[in-house]
């Protein structure tokens, strides 16, 4: 399982304030906490806190001053991407492209040139799909465009778009079905990822819903998540799900073994 830490996001009040006041300490504290909790990548998202390229670069540099973990660049401004990617010490994940041709034309060449991974969000200009078939169609479009550009399967993350359980219950089931179908898209398959926290948006049982949904997605074939990696129960549930699916050898200390293996 690849864990991408979601917490450095301008949508959170403390991060928003840190960006405004150029306070490195809060951002660096979250970077360290997420790495210690086992994050494989740190997602960096400016959100609505700023729209300046320099602020985004400052965020990336701030994180990289304190941890050596690769980054996921979460930006909806394609014009910023090349400079942001160049700021990264390790090849990042570009988060994200949609299935729209002009978006793919902007992002795929960058991914090829800088050896990055990409997250392909299974949506297009028309919005998020309301059924399984459209998710698969859009996912397959992104996948084949990426493969044709020369990006290998292990650098492609397909995201079948998580919608809030509270508002769009039917779509959650469709998403899980789409995950199952993505696993047979190719051999080896691409990574399959979700932005987990959307699922429990505005609900009363955030932790429980996050946990159960993540486990169900893993059973369907998910192997990556952008989530709160500092939620210990959530990460333990994911590791346990993978052990139950025989992806790791059980031992009485399997949680410790898994966590220790991520620390290196």
């Amino acid at each position: 399982m690849l864990f991408i830490g979601e917490r450095i996001n301008g949508g959170f009040k403390d991060i928003q304030q840190a960006i405004k006041e150029k306070d490195k300490s809060i951002i660096q504290q979250w970077a360290k906490m997420q790495v210690e909790a086992g994050a494989d990548y740190i997602d960096v998202n400016m959100g609505a806190a700023s729209n300046k390229l320099d602020d985004f670069i400052w965020m990336l540099e701030t994180v990289q001053e304190t941890v050596n973990t690769p980054l996921s660049i979460d930006s909806n401004k394609p014009a910023f991407l090349e400079k942001l990617v160049k700021t990264c010490k390790h090849p990042p994940i570009i988060n994200s492209t949609t299935a729209d041709q002009e978006k793919l034309d902007q992002i795929l060449p960058l991914a090829v040139e800088y050896n990055t991974s990409i997250i392909g969000l299974c949506m297009d200009k028309k919005g998020a799909p309301q059924d399984v078939a459209t998710r698969i169609e859009l996912g397959a479009q992104i996948f084949s465009a990426a493969i044709e550009s020369g990006i290998s399967e292990d650098r492609i993350f397909l995201d079948p778009v998580t919608m809030p359980l509270r508002y769009l219950q039917e779509q959650v089931k469709n998403q899980i079905e789409a995950i199952k179908q993505f696993t047979v898209l190719s051999s080896p398959p691409p990574h399959i990822i979700v932005g987990l926290s959307n699922i429990a948006s505005k609900s009363k049982q955030v932790h429980l819903i996050n946990k159960v949904f993540l486990v169900m997605c893993i059973e369907a074939g998910l192997d990556a998540a952008i989530c709160d990696v500092t939620d210990e129960e959530l990460v333990d549930s994911a590791i346990t799900a993978e052990v139950i699916l025989n992806k790791h050898i059980y031992s009485d200390s399997y949680l410790k073994a898994y966590r220790d293996s991520k620390k290196k």
């Binding site: 050898i249 031992s251 220790d260 293996s261």
Partner: protein, 321 residues
């Protein structure tokens, strides 16, 4: 039609473990031996490296055995009253890569020798031969913990391989290993999960992964070989796929297992039709070894000189990239 490429790529190499310390390393061995280091399953050179050929330790005891078959006695009864002479014969006449000194004499249900007596045997072997040494206790936890401090100290700095630690008994040997710079055998009862657990526990109290050789128990041909094989193979595949707690070299204790099964020792007058029994024993040991070799075994402990010779020849024949 294109033939699909079924080559696998593996993520993680198996650890290298070096046994035996030369003068430069603070010991007195003429050379050291490195095992492990594979980056694919054995001999699949198109998928990865198999840098160190599997090696064979010949087993000797600190007392003269009373239950070894006559067939083995023909080779060793002239020397088995002395661990030094016994070791020398194994190295000089039968080309043992290492010596495995089993401290059978310390068994409290047997001769119940003391730690000092065991250490004397260790010293004698170290003084007589220059190959790296494995020191294996009687298997009685309390007695092993009592005997090993003296043995470890007698061999301090020689980078011996000591055995064994288990899920329930590992602290004493790990402390000795760290103090006297030895390596350890981690034993589990034919259980892939416990094998992993022992390593987690050992590493948690400060043992380096590069100091561990996995001994998942051994079954002779006809006595659980397939089951043990499947565990070793599955564990090795997990190790190559990134499970660091299974990325250790593997040990198979062949001689001890083979030379207690009836197929290896029963004389032909008792089991007509089984063939000449003096040929049966070493063949049983050879076939058991050959099979474990394919599962990824890096270190064998064996008894019969003919079986040692056959397995060595086979390993050599496979070391052609």
């Amino acid at each position: 039609m294109d033939i699909p490429d079924v080559k696998k790529t593996w993520r993680n190499p198996i650890n290298e473990v070096t046994i035996g310390a030369t003068k430069e390393d603070g010991g007195t061995r003429s050379h050291s031996i490195t095992i492990g280091g594979s980056t694919a399953l054995p001999f699949l050179y198109s998928e990865g490296k198999y840098p160190h050929p599997a090696v064979i330790a010949m087993e000797i005891w600190d007392i003269a055995p009373t239950d070894w078959s006559e067939e083995l006695g023909q080779y060793f009864s002239d020397v088995w009253d002395s661990p030094g002479k016994w070791a020398k014969k194994c190295v000089e006449e039968y080309n043992a890569d290492l010596i495995c000194l089993r401290l059978q004499g310390t068994d409290p249900d047997g001769a119940n020798k003391s730690g000092d007596e065991a250490a004397k045997a260790v010293k004698e072997v170290l003084d007589t031969v220059s190959v790296p040494l494995i020191i294996w206790g009687s298997g009685n936890n309390d007695k092993d913990n009592e005997v090993f401090p003296a043995c470890s100290e007698a061999a301090a700095g020689e980078r011996c391989l000591l055995g064994t630690i288990t899920e329930g008994n590992y602290k004493t040997l790990i402390a000795l290993c760290k103090a006297d710079k030895h390596k350890l055998i981690a034993e589990s009862p034919v259980d892939i999960n416990i094998a992993k657990q022992v390593n987690i526990l050992a590493i948690d109290i400060g043992l380096a992964p590069e100091d561990i050789v996995i001994y998942p128990s051994t079954g002779a041909l006809g006595y659980g070989l397939e089951y043990v094989y499947s565990i070793m193979e599955r564990g090795r595949i997990a190790g190559l796929n990134g499970d660091e707690m299974w990325a250790m070299p593997l040990l198979a204790d062949i001689g001890k297992e083979v030379w207690k099964v009836k197929e290896a020792v029963a004389p032909e007058d008792q089991v007509p039709g089984w063939g000449v029994h003096v040929e049966r024993g070493h063949m049983w040991e050879t076939i058991t070894g050959l099979t474990y070799l394919q599962s990824g075994t890096d270190l064998f402990i064996m008894r019969h000189p003919k079986a040692v010779n056959e397995l060595k020849k086979y390993i050599k024949s496979m070391m052609v990239e």
